[in-house]
C-alpha cells in the first residue's frame, strides 16, 4: 500500500508540473520552435541533402555535367528561397531566433 501511495505521489508530481508552473506564472514557451520555422528548417535540411546528393551523383557518374548544372542551379535557388524566408522569420522574431 505504501508503494502504491509513493507511485501515486510520483505520478501526480510528474503530471502536474506544467500546470503548477503555469499557475506560478513561469513562462514555458520560450524554447519552443514556431511551426513555420520548424517546417522551414526541415525543408532547408532536406534541400542541403539534395544538393549533396546531386553532387555525389555527378561524381559517381550518374549525372552528366549539363544535367548536374541545371539541377544544381535549381536546387540552390530553392535553398536560397528557404534561407531568405528563414532570415525574414528571424528578423521578425528577433536576434535570438537564428540557431545556425
Amino acid at each position: 500500500m505504501i508503494l502504491a501511495c509513493v507511485l501515486l505521489a510520483v505520478v501526480l508530481l510528474v503530471i502536474s508540473a506544467p500546470l503548477r508552473a503555469a499557475a506560478a506564472g513561469d513562462a514555458r514557451d520560450q524554447d519552443h520552435q514556431s511551426p513555420e520555422r520548424a517546417e522551414l528548417e526541415a525543408a532547408r535540411e532536406a534541400k542541403y541533402r539534395e544538393i549533396r546528393d546531386a553532387e555525389l551523383d555527378l561524381r559517381t557518374g550518374k549525372l552528366s555535367r549539363a544535367d548536374y548544372e541545371s539541377i544544381d542551379g535549381a536546387l540552390r535557388a530553392e535553398a536560397l528561397e528557404i534561407l531568405d524566408r528563414l532570415q525574414a522569420l528571424s528578423a521578425a522574431d528577433g536576434p535570438e531566433a537564428d540557431e545556425d
Partner: protein, 720 residues
C-alpha cells in the same frame, strides 16, 4: 504484490484517460501547459507500467504460484533464464509487455519532439495514450496478469517447452518493440492530419521512428525464423504461418514508406501515398498483435485465447475508418508539389519498388486472411498453403531484388541514356558472369534460383560500383587513402550508403533463401545404432544412443526430465565431417492422471536439433526416439503401479539405462541445405546497414555541412 499490480493497472488507465483529455484540451485551446501535462502523462504511464511489469517479473522469478499466470506458464523446474522470459509467453503477460513497451517508446518519441510540433504532438499523445488505454482495459477486464488463486498451487504447469530457447528471450520484445514503434509514426501522421500540418517537419520527426520500427520488426522476424529453424524440429525457417505473415506485412509497408518518404522530402510528392503507408503500417502492426492474441487463426506461434477478438476488431475498425476519413478530408493539403521529371530517375525506381512491396503485402494479406474471408463468404474455412504463397511471392521477390540493384545506379530527378548505359555495364556484366558460371555448373534446372542468383549478382555489382566510385571521388578531392576515403564516404552520407549496405544484405539473404529452398536434400528414416542414411553427398551414421535424466543434467538446459538422443557421425565421400548429437526432451505434464512415472515424461516432447553449419551448407538432424517401445512402456507401467510420487524419478534412471542398453529404432530427420547461413548473414548485413542509416550525424558535422552548403548556395546565386 498482486494488489500493487492491480492498482498499477487502474492508475495507468486513469493516467491514460487524463492524458487524452489534457492533450486534446491543450491542442484545441492552445493552452501549452495542458499539452505538456498530457505529454508527461505518457512519462507517468511508463513509470507505472514499469512498476506493474516488475511486479509480474518478480512473481515469476519467485515462483509465486498464487498468480494464475505464473502457475499456468511457469514451474520450479523451469530454468531461471526461461522463467524471466515466461512473462511474455502468457496472454496476460504479453499484453502487459505490449503496453509497457508502448509507454517507453512513446515517452522517448515525445521527449525528442518536446520542443517541436507542439500542435501535432498533442494529438499524437492522445492517440498513443488511446492505444495504451485499449491494452490496459483488456488487462483489467479480459485478461488480467494479476489474477490470483487461493490457496496457491504447490507447483505450476511450466513454460511451453517449445519456448525454452535462448532466442525466445529476445524475439517477442523485439517484435513487440517493432509493433509498438509502428504506432508512433501512425500517431504522428494522424496528429499531423488533424492539425493540418503535413509538412517536411512531420516527415523529419516520423522518419527516425519508422526506421526504428522497421529495424526492430526485422530483427524480431529474423529471430523468429531462427527459432523456427533451430527449435521446431521441421527444419524450415519460414512456413507462411499466419503469425509470421502478420509480422512481415507491416515490415513491407514500412520498407515502402522509408523509400517513398525520400521522394516527399526531396520533391514534395507522394504525400497521400506516404500518409497512407504510415497509417497502413500502424494498422497492420495492431492486426499482427490481434492475430497472435485473438486466437482467430491457427498458428504455431499464436499463444492467445479466443476472448480478445471482438475488442481488437473494434479497434482495427476505428483505425481504418479514422485513417480513411482523415486522408479523404485532407486530400487538398496532400497534393503533390511537383511531377516526375523523367521515367529514367531514381524516383521512378522507388515508385516501382513501392508497387512491388505493396503487391507483396497484398498477396500475403490475402493468403493470411483467406481462411476468415472464405468462412465469411462460404461458411467453410479454407486456407492456402506455401505453394500458393510461393507462386506469387517468388516473382515479386525477384523484381524487388532487381530493383534494389537498379535504384542505386540511377540519379535523382533525371538520368540520361548514355549515363545509364555506362552505369549498368558493371552490374550487368556481374549478372552475366554469374549466369554463365551457374549454367556451366549445372544449376539451370532451377530457373527461379538461377534468376535470383543473377539478380543478386546484379545488386552486388551495382552497389560495389557505387562504393568504388564514391571512394575514388572522395579520394580525388581529399587525397585520402582508399580505406579512409571509403569510411569517410559512408560517415558523411550515412543514409545513402547505409541504405546500399541494406541492399547488399537483402541480396545475400535472398541468395540464401533461393539456394536452401531449391537445392535442399531431406530424408526421414528409422535407424538402429550402426545403420546409416544417405542425404545428398553425405552419409549419416547412427553411432550410439544417448540418455540423460533430471533437469540439472539436461544438455540443452531447458528443464526436461528425460532426454533421449543419439550420436550421429556425418561423413562425405568417406571423410569425417562432423559429429552431431540430436535429442528429444521429455517434460513433466503435471497431470497426476498419467501416473507417478507417466506424468514425469507425459508433457510435450520437444526436439533439440543438432546441426553442423558453414557458409556453404548446413547438415541438420532431429531425432524422435520411440519412447512407447514395449521395453520402455513396461517400465513406465510398472513404475506407475509400484512407485510413490517421491520415488518415481528412480524409474527415469532405469528407463534411460534400458534405452542405452537396448535402444529401439529411432526416427531421424536429416536435412542438408546449402547456404542457409547466408540468410542469417544477410540479416546481419541488413541490420548493420540499417543502423548506419539511422545513426544521427554529429551535430557539429551537420552544422559544418549546413554552413558549407549555404556558402555554396550563396556563390551559386552570385554566379546567377
Amino acid at each position: 504484490m498482486a494488489v500493487l499490480g492491480r492498482i498499477c493497472l487502474l492508475l495507468a488507465l486513469v493516467i491514460c484517460v487524463y492524458g487524452i483529455g489534457a492533450s486534446l484540451y491543450g491542442a484545441r485551446t492552445g493552452r501549452v501547459e495542458f499539452s505538456d501535462s498530457g505529454r508527461r502523462a505518457v512519462y507517468a504511464l511508463a513509470i507505472v507500467l514499469t512498476a506493474a511489469f516488475a511486479v509480474l517479473e518478480l512473481a515469476f522469478l519467485r515462483n509465486d504460484f498464487a498468480f494464475n499466470t505464473v502457475a499456468d506458464t511457469s514451474s520450479r523446474t523451469t530454468p531461471t533464464f526461461y522463467r524471466a522470459a515466461a512473462v511474455w509467453s502468457s496472454q496476460e503477460g504479453s499484453l502487459l509487455l505490449w503496453a509497457w513497451l508502448l509507454s517507453l517508446w512513446s515517452s522517448l518519441a515525445l521527449f525528442l519532439v518536446r520542443k517541436r510540433m507542439r500542435d501535432v504532438a498533442a494529438y499524437a499523445t492522445a492517440i498513443l495514450l488511446g492505444f495504451g488505454a485499449f491494452f490496459i482495459t483488456l488487462m483489467i477486464f479480459y485478461a488480467t496478469p494479476f489474477a490470483t488463486s487461493s490457496p496457491a498451487p504447490a507447483e505450476g504447469v511450466g513454460l511451453d517447452p517449445l519456448l525454452r530457447f535462448p532466442t525466445m528471450m529476445i524475439h517477442p520484445p523485439m517484435l513487440y518493440s517493432g509493433y509498438t514503434l509502428c504506432t508512433i509514426p501512425l500517431a504522428f501522421a494522424m496528429g499531423a492530419l488533424i492539425a493540418r500540418r503535413v509538412d517536411a517537419d512531420w516527415i523529419r520527426a516520423t522518419r527516425r521512428f519508422a526506421f526504428a520500427a522497421w529495424l526492430f520488426l526485422g530483427v524480431g522476424i529474423l529471430l523468429g525464423a531462427r527459432w523456427s529453424y533451430a527449435e521446431l524440429g521441421w527444419g524450415g525457417y519460414w512456413a507462411w504461418d499466419a503469425v509470421e505473415n502478420a509480422s512481415l506485412m507491416p515490415w513491407l509497408t514500412a520498407t515502402a514508406f522509408l523509400h517513398s518518404l525520400m521522394i516527399q522530402e526531396k520533391r514534395g510528392m507522394l504525400k497521400v501515398w506516404n500518409v497512407s503507408l504510415v497509417l497502413a503500417t500502424g494498422t497492420l502492426a495492431i492486426m499482427g498483435t490481434f492475430l497472435v492474441r485473438s486466437g482467430v487463426l491457427n498458428s504455431i506461434h499464436a499463444f492467445g485465447g479466443a476472448t480478445l477478438g471482438v475488442p481488437f476488431v473494434l479497434l482495427i475498425g476505428v483505425l481504418i475508418a479514422g485513417s480513411i476519413y482523415l486522408v479523404v478530408s485532407r486530400r487538398e493539403m496532400l497534393r503533390s508539389e511537383h511531377r516526375l521529371d523523367s521515367l529514367l530517375s531514381r524516383e521512378s525506381i522507388f515508385l516501382a519498388n513501392n508497387v512491388v512491396l505493396v503487391a507483396l503485402c497484398f498477396v500475403i494479406f490475402w493468403g493470411t486472411y483467406f481462411p476468415l474471408i472464405s468462412e465469411a463468404l462460404t461458411g467453410t474455412e479454407a486456407s492456402v498453403g506455401p505453394p500458393w504463397f510461393d507462386r506469387y511471392t517468388v516473382p515479386l521477390a525477384l523484381a524487388l531484388v532487381l530493383l534494389s540493384g537498379i535504384g542505386p545506379v540511377i540519379a535523382w530527378r533525371r538520368a540520361t541514356v548514355a549515363n545509364a548505359r555506362r552505369n549498368f555495364l558493371a552490374p550487368l556484366l556481374s549478372a552475366l558472369v554469374t549466369l554463365v558460371v551457374l549454367v556451366w555448373a549445372g544449376v539451370s534446372q532451377k530457373p527461379f534460383a538461377l534468376a535470383m542468383f543473377c539478380c543478386a549478382a546484379f545488386v552486388l555489382g551495382a552497389v560495389g560500383q557505387e562504393f568504388v566510385r564514391g571512394a575514388l571521388a572522395r579520394r580525388a578531392i581529399a587525397g585520402e587513402a582508399p580505406p579512409v576515403a571509403l569510411l569517410a564516404l559512408v560517415r558523411r552520407n550515412r543514409r545513402r550508403y547505409g541504405g546500399y549496405i541494406v541492399h547488399i544484405g537483402i541480396a545475400v539473404l535472398f541468395v540464401g533463401v533461393a539456394a536452401s529452398s531449391s537445392f535442399q536434400h531431406a530424408v526421414e528414416q528409422r535407424l538402429t545404432p550402426g545403420s546409416s542414411a544417405h542425404v545428398g553427398a553425405y552419409t549419416l551414421r547412427y553411432v550410439r544412443p544417448t540418455a540423460t535424466v533430471a533437469p540439472s543434467n539436461d544438455a540443452a538446459h531447458t528443464g526436461s526430465t528425460l532426454s533421449l538422443g543419439a550420436v550421429v557421425d556425418v561423413s562425405k565421400h568417406g571423410h569425417h565431417v562432423a559429429t552431431l548429437r540430436p535429442s528429444q526432451g521429455f517434460y513433466d505434464s503435471g497431470e497426476p492422471a498419467q501416473g507417478t512415472v507417466g506424468h514425469l515424461i507425459g508433457g510435450q516432447a520437444v526436439s533439440h536439433i543438432s546441426m553442423s553449419g558453414s557458409l556453404t551448407r548446413d547438415v541438420w538432424t532431429a531425432i524422435a526416439p520411440d519412447i512407447s517401445a514395449p521395453a520402455l512402456a513396461r517400465i513406465v507401467t510398472v513404475g506407475n503401479r509400484t512407485l510413490p510420487a517421491d520415488e518415481a524419478v528412480v524409474a527415469l534412471g532405469f528407463l534411460a539405462r534400458t534405452y542405452l542398453k537396448n535402444p529401439p529404432p529411432a526416427q531421424f530427420h536429416f536435412i542438408v541445405s546449402p547456404m542457409v547461413m547466408w540468410i542469417w548473414l544477410g540479416g546481419l548485413i541488413v541490420f548493420g546497414g540499417g543502423l548506419i542509416a539511422i545513426w544521427p550525424a554529429p551535430s557539429a558535422v551537420r552544422r559544418r555541412v549546413a554552413l558549407r552548403s549555404r556558402a555554396r548556395s550563396a556563390r551559386g546565386l552570385a554566379r546567377a
